[in-house]
């Protein structure tokens, strides 16, 4: 297995250590690691890290999933914000 994985986040190619979560990849992609926009229009990033708070909801290959519990795979397509 390669030491790094390449995935697509909001149209940008991102390179992460293999085995990284999508939550980690959001941060590697640059910026503040924002996953979604809140009801009130504010940026939200992963918060609880363990699949409880639902702040890290993103689209992974078209399905809404939690970034903190999803491991990056080669060629994965991630879209942030609702």
């Amino acid at each position: 297995m390669s030491a790094h994985t390449l995935l697509n986040i909001d149209g940008r190619l991102v390179r992460v250590k293999t085995g990284s979560s999508v939550a980690a990849a959001l941060r590697v992609a640059g910026g503040t690691g924002v996953a979604r926009i809140s009801v009130g229009g504010q940026p939200r990033a992963p918060f609880c890290g363990m699949g409880v708070c639902q702040e890290c909801r993103v689209l992974v290959d078209g399905r809404r999933r939690l970034a903190c519990q999803t491991v990056c795979t080669e060629g994965m397509r991630v879209e942030t914000s609702e």
Partner: protein
């Protein structure tokens, strides 16, 4: 539309942390078919979470190897429990599909989540739980060169700080709300427990401050600073990139409660699942072990898990063999709880406009006008979002004393296709083992 696949096993273990792994290995020794499900990508729970940023201790590797060695243990990672559509059956979902799993014995090892309390600015990117930051770093979050303030309460703050430092971050402060006296008592008592002496040394960290708590997080669009209240009553503002703040652990009892298991009512196991000497819950056929019975640490979880696994397959002798170990760590757990009790002062953390329900943006002032959880939910949307009231429910319980109702299915957000697939039993009794 994919249908829900029926499967069955003798012993179903929910949770692959220390308790779940010990339970599975214990049960497997009898030859029973064991399935372990866990919502994380790999076994280990929180304390032994794997990932590019994790350093697994030998114990973690030993238990994971044990899981793999047993041909009659099947591990389903990335899997959540959604519902209990009929007695002796759980509906499970993962990224690919769904399974209705029939079980003869059920062992709940659902662990604990962090108590995350609201304070002004807590929704800014860069604010996480303390255990939350540790989990994110283990899963590959880069924090090299970042300035981090750890706050809240409990020994988890030290573990989180250690993980952050190992990953190249600068921990500027560890703000513990408990008093020096409480923590010192706890630290002095640590020498009794093998392996915990190191923790006592960690408490002497130069950044560690007691009687100290977060007042607010500041920044435009992300964390830029944190305001802390110190023991001397003064406040200090520290420029930083992250705030990792958690106030201890809350047992994950949702699945147990939905299945009808009673909660423990006494002492420090308050709000954990009630279990007897064999880790049996109040519902026949269902056992529970680990942090979901009350916070006690990984050593106790292993002991409880072993007892539960042996008891579930009827091996009384093997179960009894772990009683001494469990008793030792029960005493440690009691000490832990005394040391880090949350003091009333942090109930005044939120300001009127501080959001309490993060999913639906419901502020503190709105909840202050509500008569209880049902009122807050039905009329103000608190708890109607994706976290299904977990974060705000914990906060509301702490701030107002509101008890949350018994959880209803689905226990977590679930694809409609999965729920729609429960119409007919596909193939009847000929389920795969």
């Amino acid at each position: 539309m994919s249908s829900v696949v029926p499967e069955r096993c003798d012993v179903l273990v929910v949770g692959a942390g220390p308790a779940g792994m010990a339970a599975a290995v214990a049960a497997a020794r009898s030859g029973a078919s064991v399935v372990v499900i866990d919502d994380n990508p790999a076994p280990g729970g929180q304390i032994w979470r794997d990932g590019p940023g994790a350093k697994l201790p030998p114990a973690a590797r030993k238990w994971r190897d044990a899981l793999e060695r047993h041909a009659n243990i099947r591990v389903r990672s990335g899997t959540r429990v959604v519902a209990a559509p009929s007695p002796g059956e759980l509906l499970l979902e993962d990224a690919e599909g769904a399974v209705r799993m029939r079980w003869s014995k059920l062992i709940l090892c659902t662990g604990a989540r962090e108590l995350l309390l609201p304070f002004p600015g807590w929704t800014l990117p860069g604010v996480t739980g303390a255990g939350g930051l540790q989990a994110l770093i283990k899963a590959g979050l880069p924090v090299e060169g970042e300035r981090i303030v750890v706050a809240g309460s409990g020994p988890l703050l030290l573990a989180a700080a250690a993980t952050a430092r190992s990953a190249g971050a600068k921990v500027l402060r560890i703000a513990e709300q408990a008093s020096f006296a409480s923590v010192a008592r706890f630290g002095a008592g640590l020498a009794r427990w093998p392996g915990k002496a190191a923790q006592a040394v960690a408490l002497a960290d130069s950044c560690y401050r007691t009687s100290s708590h977060v007042v607010s997080a500041g920044g435009a669009g992300q964390v830029e600073s944190v305001r802390l209240r110190q023991g001397n009553g003064k406040e200090v503002e520290i420029a930083c990139d992250r705030i990792a703040c958690g106030f201890g652990l809350v047992p994950n009892t949702q699945l147990g409660r939905m299945l009808g298991c009673a909660l423990a009512s006494d002492g420090f196991s308050a709000r954990g699942l009630q279990v007897d000497a064999r880790q049996a819950t109040s519902v026949p056929g269902i056992y529970a072990a680990g942090e979901c019975t009350g916070f006690g640490g990984s050593e106790r979880a292993l002991a409880q898990g072993s007892i539960a696994g042996h008891a579930a397959v009827g091996d009384e002798r093997a179960a009894a063999a772990h009683e001494g170990e469990r008793a030792r760590w029960d005493a440690f757990a009691a000490q832990l709880h005394r040391g880090f009790a949350l003091h009333a002062g942090i109930r005044v953390l939120p300001r009127p406009d501080t959001l309490v329900c993060r999913c639906e943006d419901v502020p503190f002032s709105v909840l202050q006008d509500c008569s209880g959880w049902t009122d807050a939910k039905l009329h103000r949307r608190c708890g109607m979002g994706a976290c299904q009231g977990r974060v705000c429910g914990d906060a509301a319980q702490f701030l107002f004393g509101w008890t949350p109702p018994v959880p209803r299915p689905p226990l977590s957000p679930v694809r409609i296709a999965t729920l729609a697939g429960l119409g007919e039993v596909v193939g009847g009794a000929d389920a795969r083992q």
